[in-house]
Amino acid sequence: MDPITLLLLIMIGGILIGGGVHFIPVGGAPAAMATATGVGTGTAMLAAGAGLSGLVTAASMSGQPFYIIALGGAVGAMLMIALTMVTANLIYVFGAGIVPSSAKVEIDPITGRNQEKYVTPGTEGHGIPTVCFVSGLLGGLLGGAGGGLVYYAISEGFKGLNGFTPEIAGGLVAIVAVGIFFINSVIASYNIGGTIEGFHDPKFKRIGSGIISCGIASLVMGAFVYLLTIGVLPIGGVA
């Protein structure tokens, strides 16, 4: 793969990952105590969990065109995030007797249901209402597709290098892809600064600076990946 395409694909993948993280509704530790709306864990951790599931699905599409690999990543990540959100809501509803409701909007923009009346006084909402669920699915879609693109770019970049068995190359590609995924999700999570409910949250407006930062970071990482592919080549070039 030529260096420009490699850099472009890694940069687009990074932007998709960084943008996707902003969609994922995470309430952090307060959500686990039903004090805040969203999934009860950290932004980067949930994004990484979803993205890595997507990476497993994307890699199982190896040998296919880049859009199929990206779609594979998106489906894997969406499956993970959807299953997690449904299971969390089952525990909120049946384990703690709580109605999923958002404190950031009075009316759910998707279902039109009133939210304010269903929020426990003294809390910032709880559970994962439909608007957050849809936002989470979009986050999984973008993050998983981005992870898939990054994986595709790196695996194409490493293709045909001397001295590498397919097992070693596969492992190396996966490790680098996981690293790029983690870096982008942590940058996005710093940009969010704690918790976010999804695209209806006022914090979502920060997405612009988040994706610019992720784009720049991914470009730098793409350059490292390119240097790595040259560095591991024996004198004489590609086999």
Binding site: A29, M33, Q64, G76, L83, A96
Partner: protein, 291 residues
């Protein structure tokens, strides 16, 4: 569709279910989950307790590390042509040993830092929790490495996935940690930790730190937490992870590559519908807090 491959995928789903349930119960016993913030806060609010608090790392990275260690050792032993079941067992045992060392050091570090609020370090509470933590941790690691081994094992000459065993173990460990942290923790944090408050509401910020420190008889401890969460939060976490592992492979095994992607999207839409019905049920059944 090959029946043998389908059987292996079903076995992976079963192993993942057991891993998920064990992981959640283990981290609930050790308070290595989001509700640890309340266990940490309680002494400052005047509520001394006998809970274990080993939350130095979040569940995803911690389980990524334990599963990675277990998977790497199993991988080395498998390459030395040791019997797979023995290789997985030894790998999981070494991973568990490190988990126990980490439990002791991180709990002691956290509790000692609370001595300024007169919180004692109860050695008996720590020692009695080590067995259940090690047991559940071992089961979780055995199942994660076991299902990762099934993925890389060549069936009819081709493995299900191209990633090497240690990396798959790390990825599934991180994913399981993220799921356990997002789902099972809710049962601990919003219910078990605040059982003396009425059922059916979120925990207001003003009540945070006022955790339940008394059980039916005597002081509540981490074993009581594990016992409580094993009845709902743990099994649901297991079912969630089991479905994820199963669906991730089942869709492509049964429907092929493109058909599998479409099937995956259909499952996601079904989950969206289930979630909407669940929200509707809760609103109708429980009603609003204020009119």
């Amino acid at each position: 569709m090959d029946p043998l491959t389908l059987g292996i995928v079903a076995l992976m789903g079963a192993a993942a279910t057991i891993a998920g349930a064990s992981e959640d119960i283990e981290t609930d016993i050790g308070s290595e989950s989001n509700p640890n913030s309340q266990v940490q806060l309680a002494p400052q609010m005047g509520h001394l307790h006998r809970f274990i608090n080993k939350a130095v790392a979040g569940e995803p990275v911690a389980y990524g590390a334990w599963a990675g260690i277990a998977g790497t050792i199993a991988f080395v032993l498998l390459n030395l042509h040791i019997m797979p079941i023995l290789a997985i067992t030894v790998g999981a045992a070494v991973g568990t040993l490190i988990l126990v060392v980490y439990t002791i050091t991180s709990h002691m570090g956290r509790i000692v830092s609370q001595s300024q609020f007169q919180q004692p370090l109860f050695m008996d509470a720590l020692l009695e929790a080590l067995g259940p933590i090690a047991g559940h941790g071992f089961i979780a690691l055995f199942c994660i490495v076991g299902l990762s081994t099934l993925i890389v094992m060549p069936i009819n000459g081709t493995p299900l996935h191209i990633f090497p065993l240690p990396l798959l173990a790390v990825i599934w460990g991180i994913t399981l940690g993220a799921i356990g942290s997002s789902t099972g923790d809710v049962h601990y944090g919003s219910e078990s930790e605040y059982q003396h408050y009425p059922f059916g509401g979120g925990i207001p910020v003003a009540n945070q730190g006022d955790i339940t420190t008394k059980a039916e008889l005597g002081a509540k401890n981490s074993i009581d937490v594990g016992n409580f969460c094993a009845k709902f939060g743990g099994p649901l976490t297991g079912i969630c992870f089991g479905f994820l592992v199963f669906f991730s492979f089942w869709i492509t095994v049964v429907f092929g590559l493109i058909g599998g992607l479409i099937a995956g999207l259909v499952i996601v839409l079904l989950l969206l519908f289930i979630n909407e019905r669940l929200e509707n049920f809760a609103r109708t059944k429980y009603g609003p807090y204020k009119e």
